[in-house]
C-alpha cells in the first residue's frame, strides 16, 4: 500500500538542472531500502519555481526540497522516507517578516499563496504521462458533461458568459471566435480546431509548461471545441524545440485513443474527433495565425491579409478556430465550475487568471498564475521575491518583442488587457522580463529589434526593410554617432511600420522602441547629446579613467589588461590609452585602491 508520494519535476527547467538523474537515484535507493511498495515516485510537470530546481515534494507532509542532487538522495530516503525526519538542511526556507528563516511547505510559500492556479492547476500535481491520474482529478469529466448534457450552442454560451479571452496576446473573446466558426459558414463540409503551441517570445514558457505538465487538459478542451463548432479534426502546432512537450503530447494522444476519448464515437456518444501534431521549425512568424495555418498546410510559413478571417476561411480554406494553449487550459474548468465562477475572478473586461513567465533580474525565476487585475508590484515583489542584490527596479517588459515596458509609475496598475494597452505595452503571451538599474533601455530596445529583424519573414516591405533601418539607427545611437534627428526619424519610422505592416509581427515590432522612447527618452538623449550610457552598458560610450591622486602605481591593472592599454612606471600614476581600451572593465575590478572609474 502506497503511503507516500514523492513528486519530482520533469519540466524542461528541472530536467536541465538534473531532475532525471535524481529520479533514477531515488527509485534505486527506494528499491534498495525495500520501500518500493510504500513510496511512489511520480514525475510531474512544472511547479513554477524553476530557479530552485530540481524540485522535489514529499506528500502527505508536503515537504518541499529544492536544488536536489543525486548525492542528496540516499540521505533523504534514509532520514525522511524511512525514519520520517525531513532533511531540514535541504528543505526550502523562507525568510519571514521578522527576518527569521523557517522551513516551508510548497503551498505555504508566499510564491504560491498569492497565486490562483486554474490553467496550471495540475502542473506539478499529476503525472502527465498517466491518463488515469488526469481522470482522477476530474479529467475528461467536462468532455463527458458536454457530450451528454449540452448542445454545441450551450457550450458556446458558457464560454461567452465566462468572458474568457485569448491568452496568446491579442485577447479576442474565445466564445465569439467559436460562435463565428460555428455559424458563419453553415454549409461547410469540414472545419478545423487548431492549437497554437508555437511559443516564440524570448523568455516565455507557460505554454510549454502546460503541455509538459497537463497535456490531456489541452486535448480535452480541443475536443470540446470540436463539438462546439462542428469539427472532427484538430491540429496542435508545437515547436520542435519542445521535445518533452512533444513526447508527452504523443503519449497523451495515444492514451486518449486507447480509452476512446479521442477517435471515433467518443464515450459511445456518436461524436468523433481526432488530433494530429504538426511541428514548427522555430520561425517566430509562425505564431501568427495565418502563417501558422499556412505552415500546417505544408507551405512556407508566411502570413496573409485578413479578412477572410480563419473562422470563415482558415486551414485548407475551411472554417477554423485557433486558440492558444493557455486558453484551452481554462476551458474544462469553466465547463465544470460554471461561467460565473470564472467571471468572478479578474477585472471588468478581463476575466479569470493569467500565467506569467518571470525572468530577468528577479529572485524567483519561474512560472506564476495570478488573477487578472493583480498589480505588477505584487507579482514582482511578493511572488517574484523582488530584485536580487538590492538593486533598484527600473522596468518590466511584457509581451516580449511585441510588447513594451512598464515603469515604476505603473507598478500599481492592475494588469489586464486594456490597462496594459493604455500604458503602451500589451499582455502578449505572458513573458515578463524584469530589468533593474543596470539595464540600458536603448540596448534593450535594440535586443528585441534584432530579434524581429531576424524573424521577419520578408513578405511585406515595412517589416522587412523598415525594421532593418530602425536597427541601423539604433546601432548608430549606441555607437555614439547618433543625433537628435535620428531619434525623431526612429520614432517616425516606428509609427509607419506599426500602421502599414501586413501581420502582427511587423505591426508590433516597433513597440519596444516606441515604449522606451515614451518612458526613457532621456536615456536616448544621453546617448546622442552627452554621448553617455547612463546604465554603463553601451561599450562605445564608456570611458575608463585612472585617478592619478589615488593610483599607487602597483602595476596590477597594467598586468591584467588583456590588450596592453594601460601604461606607467612602478609607483607612478598609470594611464589608459582610450584608443586601445576594449572596455572590458577588468582594470576597474582588479584595482585595490578604487582609482579607476567609469564614465
Amino acid at each position: 500500500m502506497i503511503r507516500s508520494h514523492v513528486l519530482i519535476c520533469g519540466g524542461t527547467g528541472c530536467s536541465a538542472s538534473g531532475s532525471g538523474a535524481v529520479k533514477e537515484a531515488l527509485e534505486a535507493e527506494i528499491a534498495a531500502k525495500g520501500l518500493a511498495d510504500e513510496v511512489k515516485v511520480v514525475q510531474t510537470g512544472c511547479f513554477g519555481l524553476c530557479a530552485l530546481g530540481p524540485i522535489m515534494i514529499v506528500y502527505p507532509e508536503g515537504t518541499f526540497y529544492h536544488s536536489v542532487t543525486a548525492e542528496n538522495v540516499p540521505e533523504i530516503v534514509e532520514e525522511h522516507l524511512l525514519k520520517g525526519r525531513p532533511v531540514t538542511r535541504l528543505v526550502y526556507h523562507e525568510v519571514n517578516d521578522d527576518d527569521v528563516k523557517h522551513a516551508t511547505s510548497l503551498s505555504e510559500t508566499v510564491f504560491y499563496k498569492k497565486q490562483k492556479r486554474v490553467a496550471l492547476r495540475n502542473c506539478g500535481v499529476i503525472n502527465p504521462e498517466n491518463i488515469d491520474e488526469y481522470i482522477g482529478v476530474d479529467g475528461y469529466r467536462a468532455l463527458a458533461k458536454v457530450l451528454t448534457e449540452m448542445t454545441p450552442e450551450q457550450v458556446i454560451d458558457v464560454i461567452l458568459a465566462s468572458g474568457l479571452r485569448g491568452r496568446g496576446g491579442a485577447g479576442f473573446p474565445t466564445g465569439r471566435k467559436w460562435q463565428m466558426a460555428r455559424n458563419l459558414v453553415p454549409d461547410a463540409d469540414q472545419k478545423f480546431v487548431c492549437c497554437n503551441a508555437d511559443e516564440g517570445d524570448p523568455g516565455a514558457f507557460m505554454d510549454r509548461s502546460i503541455l509538459e505538465g497537463d497535456p490531456h487538459a489541452v486535448l480535452e478542451a480541443m475536443t470540446i471545441a470540436g463539438y462546439a463548432i462542428g469539427s472532427n479534426q484538430g491540429y496542435i502546432y508545437v515547436r520542435a524545440e519542445y521535445p518533452i512537450a512533444i513526447k508527452r503530447l504523443e503519449i497523451a494522444i495515444g492514451q486518449a485513443h486507447e480509452y476512446g476519448l479521442l477517435g471515433d464515437n467518443i464515450l459511445g456518444t456518436g461524436f468523433s474527433f481526432d488530433i494530429k501534431l504538426r511541428f514548427g521549425a522555430g520561425a517566430f512568424v509562425c505564431g501568427e495565425e495565418t502563417a501558422l495555418m499556412t505552415s500546417i498546410e505544408g507551405n512556407r510559413g508566411e502570413p496573409r491579409p485578413r479578412p477572410p478571417f480563419p473562422a470563415v476561411k482558415g486551414l485548407f480554406g475551411k472554417p477554423t478556430i485557433l486558440n492558444n494553449v493557455e486558453t484551452y487550459a481554462n476551458i474544462c474548468q469553466i465547463i465544470l465550475n460554471g461561467p460565473e465562477w470564472f467571471a468572478s475572478m479578474g477585472t471588468e473586461t478581463s476575466k479569470g487568471t493569467k500565467v506569467f513567465a518571470l525572468g530577468g533580474k528577479i529572485q524567483n525565476t519561474g512560472l506564476v498564475e495570478v488573477p487578472m487585475g493583480t498589480t505588477l508590484r505584487e507579482v514582482i515583489y511578493d511572488i517574484g521575491g523582488g530584485i536580487p542584490n538590492g538593486k533598484k527596479f527600473k522596468a518590466a517588459q511584457t509581451g516580449g518583442p511585441s510588447g513594451g515596458c512598464i515603469t515604476t509609475e505603473n507598478l500599481d496598475t492592475p494588469i489586464d488587457y486594456e490597462n496594459l494597452m493604455r500604458i503602451g505595452s500589451m499582455m502578449g503571451s505572458g513573458g515578463l522580463i524584469v530589468m533593474d538599474e543596470d539595464t540600458c533601455m536603448v540596448d534593450i530596445a535594440r535586443f528585441f529589434l534584432e530579434f524581429t529583424v531576424d524573424e521577419s519573414c520578408g513578405k511585406c516591405t515595412p517589416c522587412r526593410v523598415g525594421t532593418k533601418r530602425m536597427l541601423e539607427i539604433l546601432d548608430k545611437i549606441i555607437a555614439g554617432n547618433g543625433t537628435l534627428e535620428d531619434i525623431d526619424r526612429l520614432e517616425e519610422l516606428a509609427n509607419y511600420i506599426k500602421s502599414s505592416s501586413l501581420c502582427g509581427l511587423g505591426q508590433t515590432a516597433p513597440n519596444p522602441i516606441l515604449s522606451t522612447l515614451r518612458y526613457f527618452r532621456d536615456e536616448y538623449i544621453a546617448h546622442v547629446v552627452d554621448k553617455k550610457c547612463p546604465a554603463g552598458v553601451c561599450k562605445s560610450l564608456l570611458r575608463y579613467k585612472i585617478d592619478p591622486a589615488k593610483c599607487k602605481g602597483c602595476t596590477l591593472c597594467a598586468r591584467k589588461c588583456p590588450v596592453g592599454a594601460i601604461s606607467g612606471s612602478v609607483r607612478e600614476a598609470h594611464t589608459i590609452d582610450a584608443a586601445k581600451c576594449i572596455k572590458c572593465g577588468v582594470c576597474m575590478s582588479t584595482c585595490k585602491f578604487g582609482a579607476i572609474s567609469r564614465a
Binding site: M1, I2, R3, S4, H5, L7, E38, I57, Y59, P60, E61, G62, L82, K83, G84, R85, S105, S107, V125, I126, D132, E133, I135, G136, V137, D138, G139, Y140, R141, A144, T148, Y259, G260, L261, G263, N265, I266, L267, G268
Partner: protein, 122 residues
C-alpha cells in the same frame, strides 16, 4: 472504448490516490519511526494505518505520516492523532490489530480508544 460509467469508475479509483498530494487533510496520523519505534514494530503499525485509511475511504481527510523520536521510547510504537480543533491524542504500544480498532472507532467513529492512550498506560 470506455463508457461513461467506466470513466466514472476510473475517477473514483484514482481520486484518493491523487488526493494525498493536495495536502488538505484535516486529520493527521503521525507514527513515530525513529530507531526505537522501528525496533518496537512501528513499520507494520504504519502499514496498517495506511491500508486501513484507504480501505475506509478516508484518504482525502486523513494523512498518515511519520515522525522521528517523540521521546517516550519505552512506549513505542507511538502514534499521535491530530484533529482540527481537538486536542492531540497519543496512542502507545500499538500493534497492527490495535491500529485497526483505532481506525474503526476513532477515525471513522470519532471516539477515542481510551484504553490505548498514554493516559491509560502510564
Amino acid at each position: 472504448m470506455i463508457s461513461l460509467a467506466e470513466l466514472a469508475a476510473i475517477r473514483e479509483k484514482m481520486k484518493d490516490k491523487v488526493a494525498v498530494r493536495e495536502g488538505s487533510a484535516q486529520t493527521r496520523v503521525v507514527v513515530g519511526m525513529a530507531t526505537c519505534g522501528i525496533a518496537a514494530g512501528a513499520r507494520p503499525v504504519l502499514s496498517a494505518f495506511v491500508e486501513g485509511v484507504n480501505k475506509e475511504g478516508l484518504a482525502e481527510k486523513v494523512a498518515v505520516t511519520q515522525t522521528g523520536c517523540i521521546g517516550i521510547c519505552q512506549y513505542e510504537p507511538v502514534v499521535e492523532v491530530f484533529e482540527d480543533g481537538k486536542e492531540k491524542v497519543t496512542y502507545v504500544k500499538l500493534t497492527p490489530e490495535k491500529a485497526e480498532r483505532i481506525i474503526k472507532e476513532h477515525l471513522v467513529g470519532g471516539n477515542v480508544v481510551t484504553e490505548y492512550t498514554i493516559g491509560a498506560n502510564g
